[in-house]
Amino acid sequence: MTKAKILVVDDEPQIRRVLRTALAVAGFTIAEAQSADQAFDKVREERFDLILLDVNMPGMSGLEACAELRRASEVAIIMLTVRGGETDKVAALDAGADDYITKPFGVPELLARIRASLRRVPYLTTNAPAVIRFGDVEINSDTRHVTVSGKDIRFTPKEFDLLHYLVTHPNVTIPHTKLLQTVWGPDYGNELAYLHVFVNQIRKKIEEDPGNPRYLLTELRVGYRFRLLD
């Protein structure tokens, strides 16, 4: 297995320094950026599997940088921040981050989150066909492409995984915990905010009226259900 490449973006030199050693020991290849602008340069130069992005940076903030990176790339992004409030988490996920970790953190926890973000749901275990169609939407699980009315729509890896799992398990209510553990990994289960943000993003992309969805339905306090009528 090739080493996954991680870009660490933090203005704190000591934090970059310690992550450089800790992540290298864990078997990752590391690159560093001191600011959002440097990160953009690095991303243009080479492809990364994951970006660890600090929220509080002088110049362009981590949240703005995350949104900017998302416009051009589907790379996994984990945000690092000192604030652990619910609104801060939602802001990070809204900006397009896949996950969020609060400083100070233990390296084992960080590694678990990195693995979860890099992890892809194994599609082969489902018997679903490679291409699924409903309404104007077409999902290709081989190429990981989604088109709506023939137009290519960009999905982040986690968004795609979530949509794919829901579509391949239609018409049943899937509990929050089950969705979180399937898409993010076994360490997850209580991060309801993640689901709300990602479901909203998916609705915006596939539903005609995201406020009044036809396919991706909320089952209050239980989970979500994908309605497919054949």
């Binding site: 310690v18 002088p58 400083k103 960080l110």
Partner: protein, 475 residues
């Protein structure tokens, strides 16, 4: 009378004309003078009229009873006219007194409302009462304060305890001789205290009650001001606590993150000796950084709430600059630090720890706000009687309109408030430290072109001071 009589005789006027002339004379005397003068004038007129004009002329005998009527008319005119004029005069006097009283009350209320902020309220009231009523003695009792304030200290007109009694009872008291008066200070039905005066003549009770009303309102007003000042102070200290806690959380979490990440890696995986050494070095450096953070936080909180205490001595600026730069070494992150310190720079007379703390705030700001890898220049030079230390960075500079505000306590510019951790205390404390040593903190900033802060400190005037620590307190 005699003139009128003589004239009358000389020009041979008849008795009726003479009678009218006397009448006019009496009227004149009655309106100008007192009643007794008017009666005297009328009696004299009767006598003169009788003697010179009524037959038999030259005697005081009245032949005709009609002449009695003239006499009575003169008397009635005298009494009525003088009565009328006395009444008018009295009214004028009253109006005058009322106007004077109103003016006094106006002056009194104005003086109370504008009150000197630093004089105690009781003293202000006493001074105003003495001035306005021009009385010798005054007493003021504020039930909340619990003590009777008097001017002069020893009263001869009444016992100070009377002030308390009046305040408790809520009823005025007047001394038997009428030379002392104490009235309660009431607002609605609550008695706030009392006000007393004593002198040979004292104003009316009504006037005193009006003044008492004004004082009661002023007490209420002062009390409301005190409450709002206390609330403002507690809000300020709440804000201080919140800002400090937030900033501390941020500032401490950064080194804590490095430490935690290093130790968890050390614990979790087998590492090469060089990796181990690198991680332990980071822990060591970050522990030093936290130590500095702790002592700085204590220093900042102390300076923020109490006068600065300086332990001044003679130092070269070069050593203080080097110390500040050294303390921040781990944060340079590839930034070029150029130091241009004139080797012949005269020594300064300063508190080394405090000056280093001040300089470190400015250098730390340069590191916090300038891009990684950019240049930060420190220059130390002499200009006249001062040593100037300039720290220039290539950060975003200070936005127009923010140049003064950034020196205010707790102020943080809106564009960095959420992004870069900080207390908003650094620059205000820098200025406090430098100015209390006779120096200045100057800012030259080009928006988006970097900021340049200059600290000036007076050069040590007498080399004899060398080695003798000097302690002085400044507020």
């Amino acid at each position: 009378m005699a003139i009128v009589a003589a004239l009358g005789r000389a020009v041979h006027i008849n008795s009726a004309t003479a009678g009218f002339t006397f009448l006019v004379l009496i009227l004149g005397v009655a309106t100008r003078g007192r009643l007794s003068e008017a009666i005297t004038a009328s009696l004299l007129s009767v006598a003169a009229y009788n003697f010179f004009f009524l037959p038999p002329i030259g005697t005081f005998t009245i032949a005709d009873p009609e002449n009695w009527i003239a006499l009575i008319a003169f008397l009635v005119t005298a009494v009525t006219a003088s009565e009328l004029s006395a009444r008018a005069r009295q009214r004028a006097d009253e109006a005058h007194a009322r106007r004077a009283e109103l003016e006094r009350m106006y002056r009194f209320s104005r003086a109370l409302m504008l009150g000197e902020e630093d004089a105690p309220f009781a003293q202000q009231v006493l001074k105003q009462v003495l001035d306005c009523f021009e009385v010798e003695e005054a007493a003021f009792y504020d039930r909340d304060a619990g003590a009777v304030a008097t001017s002069p200290e020893q009263l001869s007109g009444f016992e100070p305890s009377m002030a308390k009694t009046v305040a408790e009872r809520g009823e005025s008291w007047r001394s038997a001789a009428g030379t002392a008066l104490v009235v309660p200070l009431k607002l609605g039905s609550t008695s706030l205290g009392s006000l007393g005066i004593a002198d040979h003549t004292i104003p009316s009770e009504l006037a005193m009650q009006s003044i008492a009303q004004l004082v009661a309102i002023a007490i209420e007003r002062t009390r409301a001001q005190e409450i709002s000042a206390r609330m403002e102070a507690s809000r300020e200290s709440e804000r201080l606590k919140a800002t400090l806690l937030d900033a501390l959380a941020h500032e401490f979490k950064t080194p804590l993150t490095s430490v935690k990440a290093a130790t968890t890696t050390l614990l979790a995986s087998p590492l090469s000796p060089s990796d181990q050494r690198e991680l332990v070095t980071i822990v060591d450096e970050e522990a030093d950084r936290m130590t500095r953070l702790v002592s700085d936080s204590i220093e900042l909180a102390r300076i923020g709430s109490a006068p600065i205490s300086l332990r001044s001595d003679v130092h070269t600026m070069g050593e203080i600059v080097a110390l500040a730069a050294d303390n921040l070494r781990s944060l340079f992150d590839g930034r070029q630090l150029t130091m241009d310190v004139d080797p012949d720079l005269p020594a300064v007379h300063a508190d080394k720890t405090m000056t280093e703390l001040a300089l470190r705030q400015i250098l730390n700001n340069a590191l916090k706000y300038s891009p990684a890898g950019s240049e930060i220049a420190i220059r130390a030079r002499q200009e006249g009687e001062f040593v100037l230390i300039t720290v220039a960075d290539h950060g975003p500079g200070i936005a127009p309109g923010e140049e003064k505000k950034i020196f205010e306590k707790f102020y943080r510019a809106p564009d960095v408030r959420k992004r870069v951790p900080g207390t908003g205390l650094g620059l205000s404390i820098t200025r406090e430290i430098i100015e209390s040593q006779g120096g200045k903190v100057l800012l030259e900033s080009e928006f988006r072109g970097g900021a340049s802060f200059t600290i000036t400190l007076p050069i040590a005037s007498s080399p004899k001071r060398n080695g003798v620590p000097q302690t002085r307190d400044q507020s």
